[in-house]
Chain length 346, copies 2
């Protein structure tokens, strides 16, 4: 049985009144949890994702522990391009590393269309397991947005400046557009497969879109992201559009086709809602670093987030970016209790 | 002879009409220049800063090569705290590393007041050499803002999230304020010494302030930065206030006491000016990564920056952050020519 559409998370995503403010945390499944470190071992995250039993267990851990309102599939935004054989590995503490980065037309051939059942059946298998286990808790599927995935393929390794990516975008706009179109097609195929297997909502991670000026985003990135949202529109699931340092991009990120826009902690939610207009829900936006402070400071900051939204429908409480590995998981549990409207006595 | 107040850079900093749009580049003296790599050697930047003849030469190189409208002292924001013996080193490709990071009250004693003539006379000596050499070209002195310097002292090494810094700020607000007050005093002493030695303007680098929400910035950071500006107000030199991902902070950065606010490329200059009001000059804001693209794309983007300012007085053309090391220096020279109103034939 899929979750009821009246699940608080799905109601809020549809910008409708919910029985409580729903809450989940980006990277809620991961290094902050001792039970994660216990089951995860030392192998590559890509190997863990290819093991449906393990990926299912890791996805469920934060739901059991924190009582969050949504689960998010344990996976990575480079899983589809890795499954296509582009040669991507994820190095612990570094991130995606590409042995032969994307350089020219010939590299387009390394990005054929994704056939989820043939290329990454384990993803859909994990989704099916999860839907069986989760009951009323919605599962969020996800994909990397074309720009952010492209940035990993072009840079080849970590980069704070995305210099090679931007130089390709501006120097070879034709090639850039073909690259993003292929990645948009791959994201659509991946998201459709996750939803058809049972995911109740999706999030498009454009984590590094906020490194772009609004002009560059609108010209060179937004059209491909809009293709992703258009490609799943018929499935009628909420679609969250996420990035950081995106204060100037928020209206464009909604215009691309999202029903929910992620807001990082730099933009107070009342300002974000003013920029987005009344039809769009918001997700966020506690600074994840604040979770390292003593609880009274965390509590005060979380209450400020709620106050900035002012009780309007259409707010999914989250951090503005992923949980930091050094976070005490008890702080996350207390945050869930606080957002749900009553902190349990300690 | 100090530069004339009618130097285009100084006029623009004072929000007054200038004979041309002035231009300089953050990190214009540095790794993008072959003549820099030739003289610089492989020692620590802190050693180079302690050598007035070398620091003078490095500062002058981009003025000679590019014809920029201002020189900026070759130094580093951790020079004063290093001179006080806090135990800071700068590791190439990593940044400042602190052997014993700031943790508690006892560490305040490691930050006694700065006596520039005793602690770092080489800085003022370099400034005096430069003023002799530069003639009509103004010299910009600088300091690190209390928050950004504190972040290095607290984190101990590179951090994308500044988790320890924010946890200290919120968990020990009393200690945090004492730390920032000491660093404000150190910045004032350093800036005053540079101006009294002949610098015509100063820039306060709060490079990481944009990692903060407006609320946290206003409560925990802005008061100390305001003390820095107040502490040099009587010297009557233009004061530039710089950070990145500061779109939401721009009005507060002006309110802190700056005459010029640096704007990164995420915020179009017309939007920035609307947020700042008519009394404040702006500096920026070409994305430094764009300088890696072919020249026609660089030119188009630079012209868009100029168009967004719309010919208003009070615009210092710059990049939105420092020159990337892999930048072709000829691109910078062409940018200067372009901004000055006529690109020289190639």
């Amino acid at each position: 049985m899929p979750p009821d559409r009246r699940a608080p998370f799905l109601q809020a995503c549809r910008n409708q009144p919910a029985s409580r403010v729903p809450v989940w945390f980006m990277r809620q499944a991961g290094r902050s949890l001792p039970e994660y470190r216990e089951v995860r071992g030392t192998g590559s995250i890509l190997d863990a994702v290819r093991d449906p039993a393990l990926a299912t267990e890791i996805t469920l851990q934060p739901v059991r522990r924190h009582g969050v309102d949504a689960a998010i599939l344990y996976s990575d935004i480079v899983v589809p391009v890795a499954a296509l054989g582009f040669g991507v590995e994820i190095h612990p503490g570094v991130g995606p590393v590409v042995a032969e980065p994307f350089r020219d037309e010939a590299d387009l051939e390394r990005l054929r269309p994704l056939d989820p059942e043939a290329d990454c059946p384990y993803v859909q298998q994990t989704v099916r397991h999860l839907v069986d286990e989760l009951g009323d808790v919605p599962l969020i599927g996800f994909a990397g947005a074309p720009f952010t995935v492209a940035s990993y393929l072009v840079e080849g390794g970590p980069s704070r400046t995305l210099g090679k990516t931007k130089a390709l975008m501006l120097g070879r706009p034709d090639l850039w557009q073909q690259l993003l179109d292929r990645l948009a097609g791959i994201a659509v195929a991946s998201l459709r497969a996750q939803v058809l297997a049972g995911a109740s909502a999706v999030q498009l991670f454009d984590s590094w879109a906020g490194t772009l000026s609004p002009t560059m985003y609108e010209r060179h990135v937004m059209p491909a992201s809009a293709k992703v949202f258009a490609g799943i529109a018929d499935l009628d699931v909420p679609a969250i559009h996420f990035g950081v340092t995106t204060g100037e991009l928020l209206p464009l990120m909604a215009e691309a086709g999202a029903s929910v826009v992620g807001v990082d902690w730099r933009v107070p939610l009342d300002d974000a809602r003013a920029r987005l207009g009344p039809g769009v829900a918001v997700q966020g936006n506690l600074d994840p670093a604040i979770c390292l402070a003593p609880w009274p400071a965390v509590e005060a900051a979380a209450l400020e987030v709620l106050a900035a939204n002012g009780g309007r429908p259409g707010h999914v409480f989250n951090l503005g970016h992923g949980v930091l590995p050094e976070t005490d998981p008890d702080v996350l549990t207390r945050l869930v209790e606080l957002v749900h409207g009553g902190e349990a006595p300690r």
